[in-house]
């Protein structure tokens, strides 16, 4: 029985964040960083360039999955593919041009970067940026395995493919 308790404890450690679902973001998490080009350190929610800012969504399977959806919906995959890169740099890697800490990725999304990465500040609220950060980091196994999906369910985004398939053609 004690061993079960220990095993349950391990499960608890790994999944207390895993199971968390914030369906309705708290008002504080709705902040939008409208001043995308600003270089000042003072921002709502604390100094973001500080590399030791932790992602409030760290380890949340729900947030990672939301981030995965937004990654497609906001067409990040248009440039970065599904993490492999294309027009934009690949996101599955060890070398980060602008830093790979949560705060750096957050900063990159908010401010944009030269050579094509648009600034998402002013458009999407803080909570979604953190979800995207969590997803991007999960691509590099920097989120707990227990909260990361091993594969997506990216059923053809383009419905035309399905029609073709139904008519007997292969993709």
């Amino acid at each position: 029985m004690r061993i079960i308790a220990v095993a349950a404890g391990c499960l608890a450690l790994a999944s207390c964040q895993t199971g968390k679902e914030n369906l309705r973001p708290a008002p504080a998490r709705l902040a939008v960083y409208s001043d995308a080009a600003r270089e000042s350190q003072i921002q709502p929610g604390g100094a973001l360039t500080e590399p030791n800012v932790t992602n409030p969504d760290y380890g949340s399977a729900f947030a990672i999955s939301e981030g995965q959806r937004l990654f497609d919906w906001y067409n990040c995959s248009g440039c970065h593919a599904h993490g492999g890169g294309g027009i934009g740099p690949p996101l599955i890697k060890t070398q980060w041009i602008y830093g790979g800490e949560p705060a750096n990725i957050f900063d990159t999304i908010v401010k944009g970067r030269p050579n094509g990465m648009p600034s998402w500040g002013g458009r999407i609220p803080q909570y979604q940026i953190w979800e995207l950060v969590a997803f991007v980091r999960s691509l590099n196994h920097e989120e707990p395995t227990a909260s990361t999906a091993p594969r997506g369910d990216n059923i053809e985004i383009n419905p035309a493919n399905i029609t073709n398939k139904a008519q007997g053609e292969t993709k």
Binding site: C10, A12, A14, T18, A61, S65, T145, S147, P150, I155
Partner: protein, 637 residues
Amino acid sequence: MSTLAELPSPQLAAELEAEHQALRRVWNDRGGFWGWFSVTTHQAIGMRYIVTAFIFLLLGGVEALLMRFQLARPENTLLGPDLYNRIFTTHGTTMMFLFAVPVMEGMSVYLVPLMIGTRNVAFPRLNAFGYWMYLAGGLVLYGAAFFNALPNAGWFSYPPLSGPQYSPGKGVDVWAQMITFTEISAMCVAVEIIVTIFRMRAPGMSLNRIPLFCWGSLVQSFMVIFAMPSVMIASTVMLLNDRTIGTHFVNPAEGGDPLLYQHVFWFFGHPEVYIIFIPALGMISSILEADTRRGVLGYPAIVLSQVATAFIGFGLWVHHMFATGLPQIGEAYFTAASMMIAITTGIIIFCWIATLWSGRLRLTTALHFVFGFLFIFVIGGLTGVMLASIPLDLQEHDTYFVVAHFHYVLIGGALFPLFGAFHFWFPKFTGRMINETLGKITFWMLFIGFNVTFFPMHILGLNGMTRRIYTYPVEMGWGPANALATVGACIIALGGILFIANVLNSRKNGKVAGSDPWQAGTLEWAAASPPEPYNFVRLPVVNGRYPLWLPAEERAAVTGMRTDKREILITASVDAEPQFLHVLPSTTIWPFLAALGATIGLVGSILTFSWYYVAVVLAGIGLLGWFWPRRPLEQEG
């Protein structure tokens, strides 16, 4: 030992008393803390199954009440969508996997050795292992509640909704692994029940003399053997691996198919209904025999119908998938097969009605439940015929009509017989009579409450109320019928409380029952109430289908078996001629330890695949201890 007092010769009485003492020494389980984990007698384990399953019934019932309160009025905000989804998933899962199947298994484990006249099941340690796995599975599911990881994708968890992307978190993994636990347990019981019935019947109990309840258990066990692997594949292999290591069984982007899961799941899921229902048929037959004072009319017809039901039951899984738009010719076949099953169940019911007509009725609580069963189950069966018709199914599928249908079939077809059986065998389980007046009040509360709850759901379904919705707008007009259903659910709950109170009270204060309070005909009533751990001082010899209804001078018993070992008699599979003697293992802690090892590994594997290896190694160590020969070794020769 009231039975000994009636014996003719004092010398024989002394002999029997000595055998009884010796058997008691050999068969009594060890006491103490570790002794509790080492039990291997079938009465103890059967009772643990039954009690544990009733606790899960209680939990599932509380969940049902919560859902009913949420739906009692339109736009209710008692439970949010997330909590509601988790609760209905847990309710369905609990009722199917942690209550209905295990409780039927528990009844079989307890009653089958008594009814066929032997001392234990064929594999007592496997039996213990199966129980511990079942308990662990239940604890895993409910333990997950503390980690916000209750499953939320429905009790059949269709992908892609239950897949890695649309069900983040560990809920569905917990669900899938819980299935592994309960299926291992079900398979353990199935194997030992089949072997027990085939190899360990009392001398003379040829196949055509097996009590109908045992036929039910036998058919059910065979169904478990062939159906349960399918759900292991669906949940553990397909779903869990898709979710944890990225396989593509159901991922259409890489050549998988979400419908494949549905096929594999329902290839198990439909037989599952009969796995629950067929033992209940056996219970009804047993109650009827005792309370009509006659053997059931058409014994061969009932047996063959049960077997046929089992066979057909494997051929109609697609009727759960009519709305998915499969090819028409196949659908017509599945319509026909689904309706055919009404013939076999119909014949069984006609046999029972004929039995009732020609018997001498004794209106016990148990017989009340049989009548309740007939009313409810016939409605459920007839709505089932409707659902087998594709056009009607297209309208009724996944609505409250289906919810009503399967509650009529499962509560009517399994829970009512089970409650009847529990009242009927209560004296055997506890040695005391259950209070019949309270029992009848319980029956009426359950019967009325049930119909008030579920009958309006037929109408709700036809009026477009779909399954698994956590709320509905006022304009739909579903409010009153839902309110009524909630009232009915409260009546059921009160009936349940009364039942528990009656059981607890009668256990202490009921009238002492004696070995055969109902003057029934089958062997379990020849054992003491409650049975001694070895069941019979001397194994009975059987000369007819209802041995206890034969004149006393025609009865016989086996002598010459050792009383210093847990020895049982192996008889021929068909005609039950004695073949050889066989020693069963004694109490042992190893099944518990093996189950514990498997549990640790399987729980870990919810997080990471490699924990399966831990499960294999730990369970392997458990099995090693389990099978390691004890000194002194069995003598040769």
